[in-house]
Amino acid sequence: MDVFSQLLNGFQVVFQPVNFLYCFIGVFVGQLIGVLPGIGPVGAMSVLLPATFGIPPVTGVIMLSGIYYGAMYGGTITSVLVNIPGEAATAITCLDGYQMAKKGRAGPALGIAAMGSFIGGTVSLIFLMLLVYPLAEIAVKFGPPEYFALMCMGLTVVAYLAKGSLIKAIIMAILGLVLGCIGTDIISGKIRFVFGIEKLSDGLDIVPLAMGLFGISEVLTNIEKPFKRRIFETGKIKHLLPNIEDWKRSLRPIIRGTFIGFFLGILPGGGSILSSFVSYSTEKRISKHPEEFGWGAIEGVAGPETANNAATAGAFIPLLALGIPPNVVMAILLGALLIHGITPGPLFIKQHPDVFLGTIASMYIGNGMLLLLNLPLIGIWVRVLKIPIRILFPLILLFCLIGSYAVNNSVFDIIVMIIFGVVGYILRKFKYEEAPLLLAFILGPMLEQAFRQSLVMSSGDLSIFLIRPISCIAILLSFALLFSTVFNVFWKARTKISKIENNNND
């Protein structure tokens, strides 16, 4: 398979004016919401999901993925300039990026971050092309037991890597799977958990669910906090281009960041956030002057910023080769493809080469656009940062209201969205994370089908999951994570209780 001639076909897809335009819209919106606080790429993608119904699938996917990697570029700007991560994956950049800005070196920090992002984003696409074909070839031989086991593993790893409590994340994943069961059972045709609500018999829609959990609840959580006016002392940003010394120090971190990001991006859950942290700690550990980290070391910006972009490419691999989304962002992309009647999986690359190659090629173009958008327009992004919350939040709410209605032209969807907005708000209050819920919701129907098919295949023998090597490894790994989680909670509770006892005794 000649990768480069294939890619050429992809570029032909992107250079169709409509795709080019939507690619631009995607990266622009992505960068915008990366800069804006209060809404992340998941929220923005779910709000714009209905806008992709009327356009060809490849165009929609090009736009949605643009939002994803565009947000990484945007998040960097706020991390460096105001010490507030616009996006979780750029949080680590605050450490050294903001320090560089305080020393008047905001320009080189932003410059190297953009260059690193570009290099990481584009080089990892080559890895993606090299890896996805052989993997899809192997995956064709996978049966339902392998799929079931891999999805279980994906979900447990996502829960395991969640920010808060592991056990809470597992509960969220179970809840998501149950929500996925609502509606008509595909195999028996029986209607489940509908409780007389006719509109539910087709199941819940991903759009109102995602908008409620990631749009409405985000706004509800934020409006209760009193807003302190943040003061931006950014001044004029000069010398965007890093000098030769900067390049010398950053080159290796960028190369390492590309590898770290890409390979961690393939793993479920981790993606861009994890890889940026791993890259930072790696650079700090092997640096000849680790004491500079936290005080404006350019390596601490170049590495993580490269890694989080490289990870976006890695995350496409499980989705494109197996049809299993490794994180929420990919789950929404899967949702977009499913709405167009395309099921990603090992055959996807062969059946829909235009969608596959077009998306890959669009990421080259998109990364280039971002580089151009980012540096010269930095002044505009700083001004965007100053848009007050009182204008932003009503707009987000209105977009959610319009978007949820647009899916099926039904008020029912708006109500579903509001309900999940409230549910999400309460869950956030109790420190439950929504990402495992949404991912499980998307995986639910596939997981159930694979589970039941496997049992039929083995005539009810559960050992089918253990006698096949790939599913055996995946199942054992998920069980190991699950059990370590339960014991971990008991153990942590014990230490916390003894701590409180000590406090009370004081």
Partner: protein, 155 residues
């Protein structure tokens, strides 16, 4: 875990049992012919099991008494704002098809711009007007999203 986690723990436990019971009535089938209730049944049981560690550890903290964490988690919530936002969202969804997007959207924007952070009347009016026209142009005219015309009968 904190003591606040007790009530959610109870809810998960109850929900898990309810899901398992409902799934049971859906027919579990057998292992070699799994029915529509089998997976949800397992999930319901799983939910109940995983609620146990939450229940136990939060209950223990309640019994011992946590002197340090006195501030309630709801103390900083601005319920008035929260409820007003929710009421306007629900009002929008109930009236959308009767009144039409332009009118109800405008009214909801007036309310939202006001309650999220109070500002001058004229600013709110101008902002809402610009927003409603801009979104109408973007969604209805350019993206061809169908929004109910309602009383104004403009399409």
């Amino acid at each position: 875990m904190e003591k606040n986690d007790f009530i959610p723990g109870l809810i998960w436990m109850g929900l898990g049992i309810a899901i398992a019971m409902e799934s049971f009535s859906l027919k579990l089938g057998s292992l070699n012919d799994p029915g529509p209730g089998l997976l949800p049944f397992i999930l319901g049981i799983g939910l109940s099991i995983f609620s146990l560690p939450i229940l136990f550890s939060s209950l223990k903290i309640i019994i011992i008494g946590d002197k340090k964490n006195k501030v309630g988690m709801w103390s900083e919530v601005n319920f008035k704002k929260l409820i007003l936002v929710l009421v306007s969202l629900i009002g929008y969804s109930l009236l959308l098809e009767k009144v039409g997007y332009l009118l109800i959207g405008f009214v909801v924007l007036l309310i939202l711009f006001n309650i999220i952070e109070s500002q001058k009347r004229t600013t709110v009016l101008i902002l809402s007007f610009i927003t409603i026209i801009a979104t109408y142009l973007l969604f209805v005219i350019i993206l061809k999203v169908e929004l109910p015309p309602g009383l104004l009968r403009i399409r």
